[in-house]
Amino acid sequence: MKAIVCVKQVPDTAGKVAYKPDGTLDRAAMEVVTNPDDLNALEAALQLKDEAGCEVVVISMGPAPAEGMLRELLARGADRAILVSGREFGGSDTFATSQILAAAVNRVGVGPDDIVFCGRQAIDGDTAQVGPQIAEKLHLPQVSYAAEIKKDGNQLTVKRMLEDGFMMLRVDTPCLITCIKELNQPRYMNVRGIFECFDKEIEVFDYEALKDDPLIETDTIGLKGSPTNVFKAFTPPQKGAGAMLNGDDAAAKLASILAEKHLI
């Protein structure tokens, strides 16, 4: 049994955000972090490992520096780490990204007992599309927004969140699950893990390694091939600061403004 986890390295959009002089985002100047939901996905896999002793494989597509993150994931308890990296993959939209990741997962191999885990959403692209698209490409059933997973043999019972409640779903392995933060509390690296992670090799799947996979259509990957294109990117204007109301009677001033505007 294997748990295959897709993990993305992302700029920390919650931390300090850097802009270039022309107002566009300066990604290079921003800290990178492991996508938060993906740590919940890894934790779900590690819990299965604790219970059933499965192999945990982490896969990340991105430029070479993502290797550092993969080592950290090994230190948290993953057994095998794969970096999917190649110039041909750069600029991929979610359709293209999921195609490449699906091919990488395929190369690892999804057996009848296996589960693929993704985060629900990456905090940079913010689309939440890659998980379901990988599932479609691999012909796996999917459950998104997982907040609870119980495994009994090859059968999983999953609590899937809705805005106004939840669904309880049952699915057999192999399947793909996208995880939200309510699912669990990710563990930290442990000391032994930190020592051992440097002995493990980080495998690299480049374009050559994946291009012959039947899932790869060479004309729908990368910036050129992606079905969606960024037509324009811009920053929203900051709204001008409004009026500050000062003094002990600030609340009274506000009440009279609201009354004048017939809002109260």
């Binding site: 939440a128 999917q142 399947c175 969606t228 900051q238 009440a255 009354a259 809002l263």
Partner: protein, 363 residues
């Protein structure tokens, strides 16, 4: 260039839960009707469920020229497999040029699965749509920091321009899908304006009942139960006034929430929250406003003890009037507020309640 001439019309996938259409369906049909005018095409609502015809016709009143209704016991409750199969088969048969759906927890499950199967692109969580280039330029003029007069765009471009926030709201991107059809987008609930209901149009709306096939064998995920949240969900999106609390209530959480409730009552609104409050377990997640919560644009939004992180303001900055109370005069929330009061919310809110009562008494 591929020939797209056989792809015609805008489709809106209209989600139902428990046999009731979702509010966002009406917003989307209204928006699609606006776009259809720019294109000169029809708007089709697509409803999958069981016994949905009467509800579906209501979509006509908001701008759907016709509705496709597929009724089947296997479509009563959403499953990825059944909905993907039926919707994709319909799209392949009828070939719409655009397909929109609400970016709900279900739309964001169904949309990507369908886009992958239909071999086309999908824009996530759009907040603005245009076809006409001139309209798009006007949109950029009001909503971007770009120097619009230097932006050169092809006036005859008829691609659907789907604008969405990314990088946690720090950036906006307009996405196009020039090489494949249909052009697909999920659209953020609560953002598009619902049209006035028109009974005559609802009566004229044509119902189409196409043949479709779905069987138990197509469905690989079994629904054991669908549970409504125990408490009634707060209707943030439909509210005229939202009074939200942030971590600033921490010194007396109960009192802070009670004050917000009182203020909301006095203003005829509901109570919302920042994520910090939800994460702390002080309020349930249906109250959360922001990037990973709800997008609201009420007439009045009051932020009490909220710092104004971009992930929060992303969900409330388009409110008509924003009032912020924060004890820190340099809190970023004041940057989006129309009226700001620097002070302790535990003092300012009772003062405000009193002052409002006094105003009411004299008027």
């Amino acid at each position: 260039m591929t020939d797209f001439s056989e792809y015609k019309g805008i489709w809106v996938f209209c989600e139902q839960r428990n046999g009731e259409l979702m509010p966002t369906d009406f917003e989307l049909v209204s928006e699609a009707a606006r776009l259809a005018k720019e294109i000169g095409c029809k708007v089709t609502g697509v409803v999958l469920g069981n016994g949905m015809e009467t509800a579906a016709k209501e979509l006509g009143g908001y701008g759907a020229d016709e509705v496709i209704v597929c009724d089947d016991p296997l479509l009563e409750v959403y499953t990825t497999d059944a909905y993907t199969k039926v919707l994709c088969d319909l799209v392949n048969e009828y070939k719409p040029e655009a397909l929109l759906m609400g970016a709900t927890n279900i739309g964001r499950d169904l949309g990507p699965r369908c886009a992958a199967r239909l071999h086309t692109g999908l824009t996530a969580d759009a907040t603005h749509l245009d076809v006409d280039t001139k309209e798009y330029i006007e949109f950029l003029r009001s909503s971007s920091t770009l120097d619009v007069d230097t932006v050169k765009l092809d006036e005859d471009d008829r691609n659907l321009k789907m604008t969405r926030p990314a990088f946690g709201g720090h950036m906006m991107a307009t996405i196009i899908c020039p090489r494949f059809r249909p052009q697909m987008s999920t659209v953020r609930p609560g953002v598009m304006k619902k049209a006035e209901f028109d009974q005559a149009k609802a009566d004229a709306c044509q119902v189409i009942r196409p043949a479709f096939s779905i069987s138990k064998e197509d469905i690989h995920v079994e629904v054991l139960s669908v549970e409504k949240a125990a408490k009634k969900m707060v209707d943030l999106i439909g509210a005229n006034v939202v009074v939200s609390v942030g971590r600033g209530i921490s010194k007396n959480v109960k009192e802070g929430i009670a004050l917000a409730e009182k203020l909301a009552d006095a203003m005829g609104g509901v109570v919302g929250a920042s994520r910090a409050v939800v994460d702390a377990g002080w309020m349930s997640s249906d109250h959360q406003v922001g990037q990973t919560g709800k997008t609201v644009h009420p007439k009045i939004y009051v932020a009490l003890g909220i710092s104004g992180a971009i992930q929060h303001t992303a969900g409330m900055q388009d409110s008509e009037l924003i009032i912020a109370v924060n004890k820190n005069e340099s809190a970023p929330i004041f940057g989006v507020a129309d009226y700001g009061i620097v002070g302790d919310l535990f003092k300012v809110v009772p003062d405000l309640l009193k002052a409002m009562e006094a105003e009411r008494a004299v008027r």
